[in-house]
């Protein structure tokens, strides 16, 4: 074979490969995946993707596998908040941490402007207090329509509109208002050292700054973390904003251990909770696929309490999906019930963005491999 024709064949292979990669990226994009980058080598394909409609990366990986329908060895690199979270290889989704080369390769391809859809998310916002004598069920229900826009690698803005449905819980008026709006920065400082910084308006009438740090190796059972916040009270009456100076500092250290069976995790946390309440809290968390159920017990200066929490995605998920816009229900609705309705014991505020500990529990490869 002449030198020229062998070159031609190489070029042809390259063109065909690129076309194939492009086709796969498009298939994944159409199925709701974002920031899709397909890298082809001789016998392996590396695929980066972010998938916001599903709560658990396990289901995203399964879905991606079905859509891509690839016979070669696939190296999956799922992203979370625009950051690669780990490498899951082959049919059995074997985990390994990212190599520097892969990080660099993602950095070079990361495209914030064109890599994401404009996703609108419908999410209920429900608070309740049980056991008041005059009115046993005091509830406040709102519906939030919000979106997240990526501004810089790892940095995003979440904002939306809140529509009140009913309120028998407090004095707040039924005005349509801005939904919890905040800037969120997520980064893996060094391998397995995750940091999440959030600033703005949160749920539970708190605003301010929130810092979460967690050392979690995604193939290990132990993880340790810190949750800290500097917040104040706010509410939004019609046409204005009422804020009190932030003066509430919370600082909670925690240790989580994943039991070797049943996707059960035990978490012990302690420190200063919201409203300067010193104490400890123990959690037992069970992960069922996309649903998470937890039981807790807390002892603080203010008293003691026990309760449970559930987190699940809302049906049906995707409602409308176009090339550039998507409307869906939330991938995570979390609700916590606490037994003690008299004293304020071991309270935390809800950010509106899932907490680091809950997300990393989903990303843990022992969980992903348990299916």
């Amino acid at each position: 074979m002449s030198k020229r024709s062998s070159w031609a064949i190489l070029v042809l292979y390259w063109v065909l490969g690129t076309l194939q990669a492009q086709e796969m990226a498009e298939k994944l994009w159409d199925a709701g995946f974002e920031q899709v980058h397909v890298l082809e080598a001789a016998d392996t394909v590396t695929i980066f993707f972010e998938h916001r409609p599903f709560r658990s990366p396990y289901h995203s990986l399964t879905y991606a596998g079905l859509v891509a329908d690839e016979s070669r060895h696939v190296v999956w690199i799922p992203l979370y908040h625009n950051r690669p979270m780990g490498v899951y290889e082959g049919n059995d989704l074997r985990y390994r941490p990212l190599e520097n080369e892969e990080r660099e390769s993602f950095k070079a391809r990361n495209n914030l402007a064109r890599g994401y859809r404009f996703q609108w998310r419908i999410m209920p916002d429900f608070s309740a207090r049980f056991g008041n004598f005059d009115q046993p069920f005091q509830t406040k229900t709102n519906v939030i329509l919000d979106t997240r826009i990526y501004l810089l690698p790892g940095l995003s803005l979440q904002s939306g509109v809140l529509f009140p449905l009913e309120n028998s819980l407090d004095q707040q008026e039924m005005n349509i208002r801005v939904a919890p709006t905040h800037l969120h920065y997520f980064v893996e400082l060094r391998p397995s050292h995750f940091l999440s910084l959030t600033g703005g308006l949160f749920h539970t009438d708190r605003y301010g700054l929130d810092l979460q740090y967690r050392y979690a190796r995604l193939d290990k059972k132990w993880s340790v973390g810190l949750e800290s916040g500097y917040t104040g009270y706010y509410f939004l009456p019609p046409g204005s904003i009422y804020t009190e100076t932030p003066e509430d500092l919370s600082l909670i250290l925690d240790l989580e251990y994943r039991l070797p069976v049943e996707n059960l995790s035990v978490r012990m946390s302690g420190g200063q909770f919201l409203f300067r309440d010193y104490g400890v809290r123990g959690d037992l968390i069970k992960q069922f696929g996309i649903v998470e159920v937890g039981f807790h017990k807390a002892l603080t200066q203010s008293g003691s309490t026990a309760g449970f929490q559930v987190a699940f995605p809302l049906f049906p998920g995707k409602i409308l999906r176009g090339k550039k816009v998507e409307l869906r229900t939330t991938e995570e609705f979390r609700w916590e019930y606490t037994y003690n309705n008299e004293d304020v014991v071991a309270r935390k505020y809800r950010l509106g963005t899932p907490r680091l500990v809950h997300q990393l529990r989903q990303n843990n490869s022992l969980f992903i491999q348990s299916f």
Binding site: P53, F54, L66, Q135, L264, F288, G289, F308, P313, K318
Partner: protein, 273 residues
């Protein structure tokens, strides 16, 4: 009793649907007692849900036989909501909320209760299934407390259906916390001393399920004899009418569903393929 009225209508509707339903093959295991535990009318059984699904239940007890009857004062029927969550292959957590509709303006939501159910022994060819129920010493009003040991054996009668025999013992004492103006105190109290007659000693039951969709039962709940009849659909939805003390009518209903499902979009995609 407005709620009860609507419920009766739903009940009749369900009965009609169930009688139109034919043919389910698996043996029933999602049936629960009035507090949402696998069981009969008021008594629990040692039946274990091997599919490990989450159960939600709603039961009504007539006034004179309600569990928290406020020391014999007549305060209307009792509604009991229950949730059952399987945590491991041998451990379940049960949560209850009670409500006295006629007393709601005074007490709001009634007693809230949590207990754990531990599977000590699996049912074998000759051995029964054995379950231990323990209530953590916690809470303000602990009338639903139950600390008990129960055994259940299923006997397949071939063409004549299944016979389920259960028996057990429940502690007549409970851990009581009371809040008074002077302060709160914690004691171990005899259930009868506060007018609580729920599971107070030995209990036993006999249940016969001639067809998949229907079962009848009779039990001694340590105080009195109760009978009941249930109808079920695909082991998912249960509706049961009870005669408490063979005098007054009560209802138990429950649904059961798995929690380890995949997201809807993924399920639909798999189905299409």
């Amino acid at each position: 009793m407005l709620c009860g009225g609507i419920f009766m209508k739903q009940f009749v509707y369900f009965v009609l649907i169930f009688f139109l339903w034919v043919g389910v093959e698996l043996p029933a295991s999602g049936q629960v007692n009035v507090v949402g535990k696998p069981g009969h009318v008021l008594t629990p059984s040692a039946q274990w849900d091997t599919l490990r699904q989450v159960g939600v239940s709603f039961g009504i007890l007539p006034e004179s036989y309600s569990i928290n009857n406020f020391m014999g004062r007549q305060v209307g029927p009792e509604h009991i909501y229950g949730v059952r969550v399987p945590l491991t292959a041998f451990l379940e957590v049960n949560i209850n909320f009670t409500r006295k509709p006629e007393l709601a303006d005074r007490i709001g939501v009634g007693d809230r209760h949590i207990d754990v159910r531990i599977h000590l022994l699996k049912e074998r060819r000759l051995l029964p299934s054995v379950v231990l129920v323990l209530t953590p010493p916690e809470g303000v009003s602990t009338y639903l407390s139950q600390d008990l040991l129960v055994a259940t054996k299923n006997i397949v009668l071939g063409g004549a259906g299944t016979l389920r025999i259960s028996g057990g013992y429940s502690s007549p004492y409970f851990y009581r916390t009371s809040k008074t103006k002077i302060g709160s105190y914690k004691t171990i109290t005899r259930k009868t001393s506060v007018g609580n007659n729920y599971l107070n000693g030995f209990f036993g039951s006999l249940q016969w399920q001639p067809w998949e969709f229907l079962g009848v039962m009779v039990e001694h709940d340590s105080q009195k004899i109760n009978t009941g009849m249930f109808l079920q659909w695909k082991e998912r939805i249960y509706i049961q009418g009870n005669l408490i003390d063979n005098k007054e009518f009560g209802i138990t209903s429950s649904v059961r569903f798995p929690l380890d499902f995949a997201p809807f979009e993924l399920r639909r995609y798999v189905k299409k393929k």
